[in-house]
């Protein structure tokens, strides 16, 4: 069976990975270049629209993927992003994990403050990601960094 998802008038074919995603398994994308960033956005957007998140939430999810992948590329050079559908009985949601084995964030508390983010005073980067998502967690050691975010559907 071929599934086609319509996003704002654009047709995307469901990649084979999607079948696994919808059963609750996670799909990983290696982040090693700008192309991988695009692949990760594609994966996240396909899953989010499959979960019937609103079009603005889908834009937010793509945004978050760009920011997290950018962090991986800039600070660790390479890493991995994981996408998973979840269901708490009332709502459906998407969990996105970005993991790298870079040098880690020296002061995670500061990284979460707007002024200290690498984007200056614009509130981009991790503080921006936290504001766009429903749940956010950050773990960083000298062995690497893991950021996990969740966005729930509205209903």
């Amino acid at each position: 069976m071929r599934l086609v998802v319509v996003i704002l008038g654009a047709d995307f074919e469901i990649p084979p990975d999607m079948a696994r995603l919808l059963t609750g398994e996670s799909v990983s994308v290696l982040i090693d270049s700008e192309d991988d960033l695009v692949a990760a956005r594609e994966q996240g957007r396909a899953l989010a629209s499959q979960l019937k998140l609103s079009s603005t939430d889908i834009v937010r999810i793509a945004t978050v993927i760009s920011e997290l992948a950018r962090n991986v590329l800039v600070h660790a050079r390479r890493g991995e992003m994981q996408f998973r559908a979840i269901d708490d009985g009332r709502r459906r949601g998407i969990v996105i994990t970005a993991r790298d084995e870079g040098p880690g964030i020296e002061r995670p508390d500061r990284a979460m403050q707007d002024g200290y983010s690498t984007s200056g005073g614009f509130g981009l980067g991790l503080p921006g990601v936290r504001r766009l998502m429903d749940e956010f967690s950050l773990e960083s050691t000298k062995a690497g960094t893991t950021v996990t975010v969740t966005k729930w559907s509205d209903w």
């Binding site: 704002l8 654009a10 695009v38 956005r41 793509a62 200056g120 614009f122 981009l124």
Partner: protein, 326 residues
């Protein structure tokens, strides 16, 4: 893609490259609506943000692209292309949403800080007024008792000390009052303002009237701001207006508190007078800090009316007021 004269005025300092890049990326996106093209939109939005552009500048980029992207010109009547172009714009606007939310958060942090500073002034004013002020009062009392049985020829140096203590008392009072008028807490907003006006009336031989339909239960920050505005407005009257009387009215509707201070003085031409010289700057700044506004009416020989408005939702305070009035 772009004729040399098509650039709108004011766009000279905007990075030209971004305009072209946006139009080019949108053109590519319309030809092939893949994730890579949307990702480019997002990166363009991010660049626009760091170039200091706002959402409207970005819309102008979008508009210009709509006019110049050939794909779109050919398919201008077709809905899907326009809808997809909007999807492209949404990606580019997304960084601005993050910034917007961060500004909202920081706004809240700033008003919290402002409230904390105000509470600090309040505590300090209270300590000066009740602590140092009371102690000085004891000193003045002890001095006058000590002087009762003093021979006349020994009194002059003590009288000098009494005089210094009185000056110190005046200074402490005005310091405490400038930090925060403790009468606001002790008497409530309406009686504190009344007290202030009575003081000004009697010391400057002016007639005054005060009417208020405002409950005392306004948020402390608002009460402080109203008090200070009335105080500065009345100080202006004393200094500049040559008035014989003035009126102060406090009113409210569902969303605002209004203060009107009017006098029968010499007035002035608001268009010719620089407002800085009239001490209105302080009032304006205070109101601005609370998202309020100032409206000034005056003409030579016809007095002056200042109308100050503060947005305040008095929901709870007013209900309480109305309950207690019943």
């Amino acid at each position: 893609m772009n004729s040399p004269n098509s650039q709108p005025p004011g766009a000279a300092n905007r990075p030209q490259g971004l305009k072209h890049a946006y139009a080019l990326a949108m053109h590519d996106y319309l030809a092939c609506s893949d994730e890579e093209a949307l990702s480019r939109a997002y990166e363009l939005g991010r660049q626009a943000l760091t170039h200091g552009m706002g959402p409207l500048d970005l819309l102008a980029l979008h508009q210009s692209a709509l006019e110049h992207v050939p794909t779109l010109r050919r398919t201008a009547t077709e809905r899907p292309a326009a809808i997809r172009a909007t999807a492209f714009l949404m990606e580019a606007l997304s960084p601005f949403e993050m910034t917007y939310r961060s500004f909202l958060d920081r706004n809240t942090a700033l008003s919290d800080l402002n409230e904390a500073l105000e509470n600090e002034s309040r505590r300090t004013a209270r300590r000066v007024h009740d602590g140092a002020g009371q102690m000085l009062f004891s000193v003045q009392l002890a001095l006058s008792e000590a002087m009762i049985d003093l021979p006349q020829e020994l009194k002059p140096p003590f009288e000098h000390v009494v005089d210094l203590a009185n000056q110190l008392d005046q200074q402490l009072r005005s310091l405490s009052h400038d930090l925060y008028p403790v009468s606001l807490d002790d008497l409530g907003l309406n009686r504190a303002i009344q007290h202030l006006l009575e003081g000004v009336s009697s010391s400057h031989d002016l007639k005054s009237s005060f009417h208020s339909s405002l409950p005392d239960e306004v948020p402390p920050g608002v009460a402080f701001c109203l008090y200070q505005c009335v105080q500065e407005a009345v100080t202006n009257i004393v200094r500049h207006a040559h008035a014989t009387s003035f009126d102060v009215v406090l009113e409210h509707d569902d969303e605002h508190v209004m203060v009107t201070v009017s006098d029968d003085g010499i007035g002035f031409d608001p268009a010719r007078e620089s407002t800085g010289g009239l001490g209105l700057v302080g009032i304006r700044d205070r109101l601005k800090g609370m998202h309020g506004g100032l409206d000034l009416k005056s003409a030579p020989g016809r007095g002056t009316q200042l109308r100050m408005t503060l947005p305040v939702t008095l929901g709870n305070a007013l209900q309480k007021h109305q309950r207690s009035a019943r």
